[in-house]
Symmetry: C2
């Protein structure tokens, strides 16, 4: 069902020196399913993260934030699927603490050096015994070339594992060299800024000082994982983690003014964008991949609000599913997106390369068959001009199909 | 597909002295379909309205507001379905002006004494010739007992005509007597506060001064039509009109302090609430009618924000469709509803009479089969306690089913 998305081949998710991954079938919710993943990070690796803004956030998210804030050097990540350990109260908290403690013992580190992640059903007790019993096998499997298995091990309703890599040549007067970036992600439903039911883990082998990494993770999330929408629901467990092992030869990035930083940041954004778009392409029931681009706004914030209103509208999404150029629905969503002084007489709408509406009404040359042609494509760009400024924003979404209803009606069965 | 909703019988929508209705099959979009309705109001009738907040509002909505603001006594309404006359620019404006002018000529009144309404497909030219050609037949059919035909004549994707009446005995030291209230409404998809793709017309035979009626229409909308949500889309054409013919014997309501006013207002709210809930019960693809009640909030606004987040969530709505007590999805929606200082440790969730979650986690005595039992009912109340105040708010919504996708994917075909 995924839109133009293939599983990466093992050699396409390139090992990052200093990062090892191991996974196993712990039987957390279902048998015969890779559902427990451990990452071991070499000493000296810096780690930064951004997390769900949902007030009902899960026990692992809370502990993750505490461990990152403690300043302890992070040396391991542990991720389970099948259960989100959210809405699980004191028991959920005890379970995630125990998980960190047992993994720390196995790896000879302290519990606060472990970041825990869970994804899956909310409001059910974490099957902690099965999780703990699976840890030794996951640790035994730790290897640098296990990224693809890890990508498989964090899937829930995903139909395809998501991974991406890039090797980038960094140049500069300071010291240049090759940086390897690899990331994996999961997510398919409950996808909306900020953030989605998604987990994203990206590692590189550059050495990046903590303050630089903290700023990078936020900027990258804002341009990628916070620009995707499947169904408008924000989950309890979303996390995006950026790791820098420092194993590469080039000198550390320890200043925000480092002239080499933009090239590294753009490469990280490219990997993150591939993963973010892969989540939308694998959106629950998705048959179309849609970029909503809003331009000529007064501010980026209002462009984003318009893009989100369009991307969230069930009426717009079902029209895309049906390849029906019922484009008034898009204009209606623009109209209720919250810009109280929007002059509709200046609004333009393009569907792909076709000008559909201008001055708030149907464009004179528009022909239904042109709209139809664009709608039948599986990759569609909607471009909306607000006619009131120079700001612009894009986000990526998918259509709303029968399969979405089926998947979400039957999620727990 | 509608949830516990039957078409009213002709004698259940009671004539209101001073109001006549006529309708016809004008063939505006489809043949053999009652799609044009005229209301004639006796001299002395006061009229007030509330309209969509969508910035992309339709030509008839703009003209309606102008005619109401002009102070001219409103003497007629004209409503067409099949085409919303929205996003139609100068031509759409000319069409609606022409409609008012021709109807005014037939009725011997001025164009600004006519309120026009359109509902249906957006962004397509109004077939004005067919509309105008239908007016004489609609006018010829004007009768006081044609409310049911009018209810049928304003339907679009509605499967059932919506009408309600109440005869209320008003008492007071001033003068008492019987007031007859009758209303009709349409709406099924694109339903969300403020307001829905809905039209609502309620008339009573009390005499109500314009300032009192203006205040009443807003208060009634806020308690009824602005408390329903099918899919979260706000349309371009929503209108709710309140008419008071003054034909009843009792003295006018011309002061906001009139001791008789609360009884009249409550009766009007009961009729409006029946119509509003009928819209949800006939929601596109609806199989369940759900009341979301949020209590213990600091403010009514935050209660409403929580209720809306729950009512809009596609994940919550598909879980209801599946009768799956996947109640974490409700808590997740509460979590992202925007209360930044919400303490989840104080949140309670009831499904019907079953306590599901307390202190932000699964209630100790909760059993899945109890949740399942409530979910299988076609009328469900979700009660959420925020544990931070005394404010409360309710709204009414429905589930998200395969039929919703089918209806909206095929709307224009």
């Amino acid at each position: 069902m995924a839109v133009a998305l293939k599983a990466p081949l093992a050699h396409e998710v390139i090992p990052v020196a200093g990062i090892e991954l191991g996974s196993t079938e712990a039987g957390i919710r279902k048998a015969n399913r890779r559902d427990l993943v451990v990452l071991r990070l070499a000493p000296g690796t810096t780690v930064a993260g951004v997390f769900t803004l949902n007030r009902f956030c899960a026990a692992p998210v809370e502990l993750c934030k505490e461990h990152l804030a403690s300043g302890a050097p992070i040396r391991a990540l542990v991720i389970n699927t099948g259960n989100a350990n959210a809405g699980t109260g004191a028991a959920g908290r005890a379970h995630v603490e125990q998980t960190c403690k047992e993994l720390a013992q196995m790896l000879g580190i302290r519990p606060e050096q472990v970041l825990p992640f869970s994804t899956g059903v909310i409001l059910e007790p974490l099957p902690i015994a099965r999780l703990l019993a699976g840890l030794p096998a996951a640790v035994a499997a730790l290897r640098a070339d296990h990224w693809l298995e890890a990508a498989q091990g964090i899937m829930t309703t995903d139909t395809i594992p998501k991974g991406a890599s890039e090797v980038v040549e960094i140049k500069g007067t300071k010291s240049g060299g090759r940086v390897t970036i690899t990331g994996i992600a999961k997510g398919s439903g409950m996808i909306h800024p900020n953030m989605a039911t998604m987990l994203g883990f990206i590692a590189c082998d550059a050495k990046i000082a903590q303050p630089i990494l903290n700023a990078l993770v936020k900027r990258i999330a804002d341009r990628t994982f916070n620009r995707i929408c499947v169904d408008g629901d924000t989950s309890t467990n979303d996390s995006f983690i950026l790791m820098a092992s420092g194993a590469a030869a080039l000198e550390p990035f320890d200043s925000a003014d480092d002239e080499r930083l933009p090239a590294l940041e753009e490469a990280l954004v490219r990997v993150a964008k591939k993963l973010a778009q892969a989540i939308v392409r694998d959106g629950e029931g998705a048959t179309k991949f849609i970029e909503v681009h809003v331009e000529e706004g007064k501010t980026e914030a209002e462009c984003l609000a318009v893009a989100q209103a369009v991307a969230k509208s069930p009426l717009v999404k079902t029209a895309f599913f049906a390849s029906d150029p019922n484009l008034g629905r898009i204009l209606a969503a623009v109209g209720y997106s919250g810009i109280s002084d929007l002059d509709f007489g200046r609004v333009k709408l393009y569907l792909g390369d076709v000008l559909v509406a201008v001055n708030g009404e149907l464009a004179p040359g528009y022909r239904e068959e042109d709209g139809q042609r664009v709608m039948q494509s599986s990759e569609i760009t909607v471009r909306i001009g607000l006619g009131r400024g120079a700001a612009s924003q894009s986000l990526w979404t998918c259509d709303l199909s029968h399969a979405y209803v089926t998947i979400n009606a039957e999620y727990r069965t």
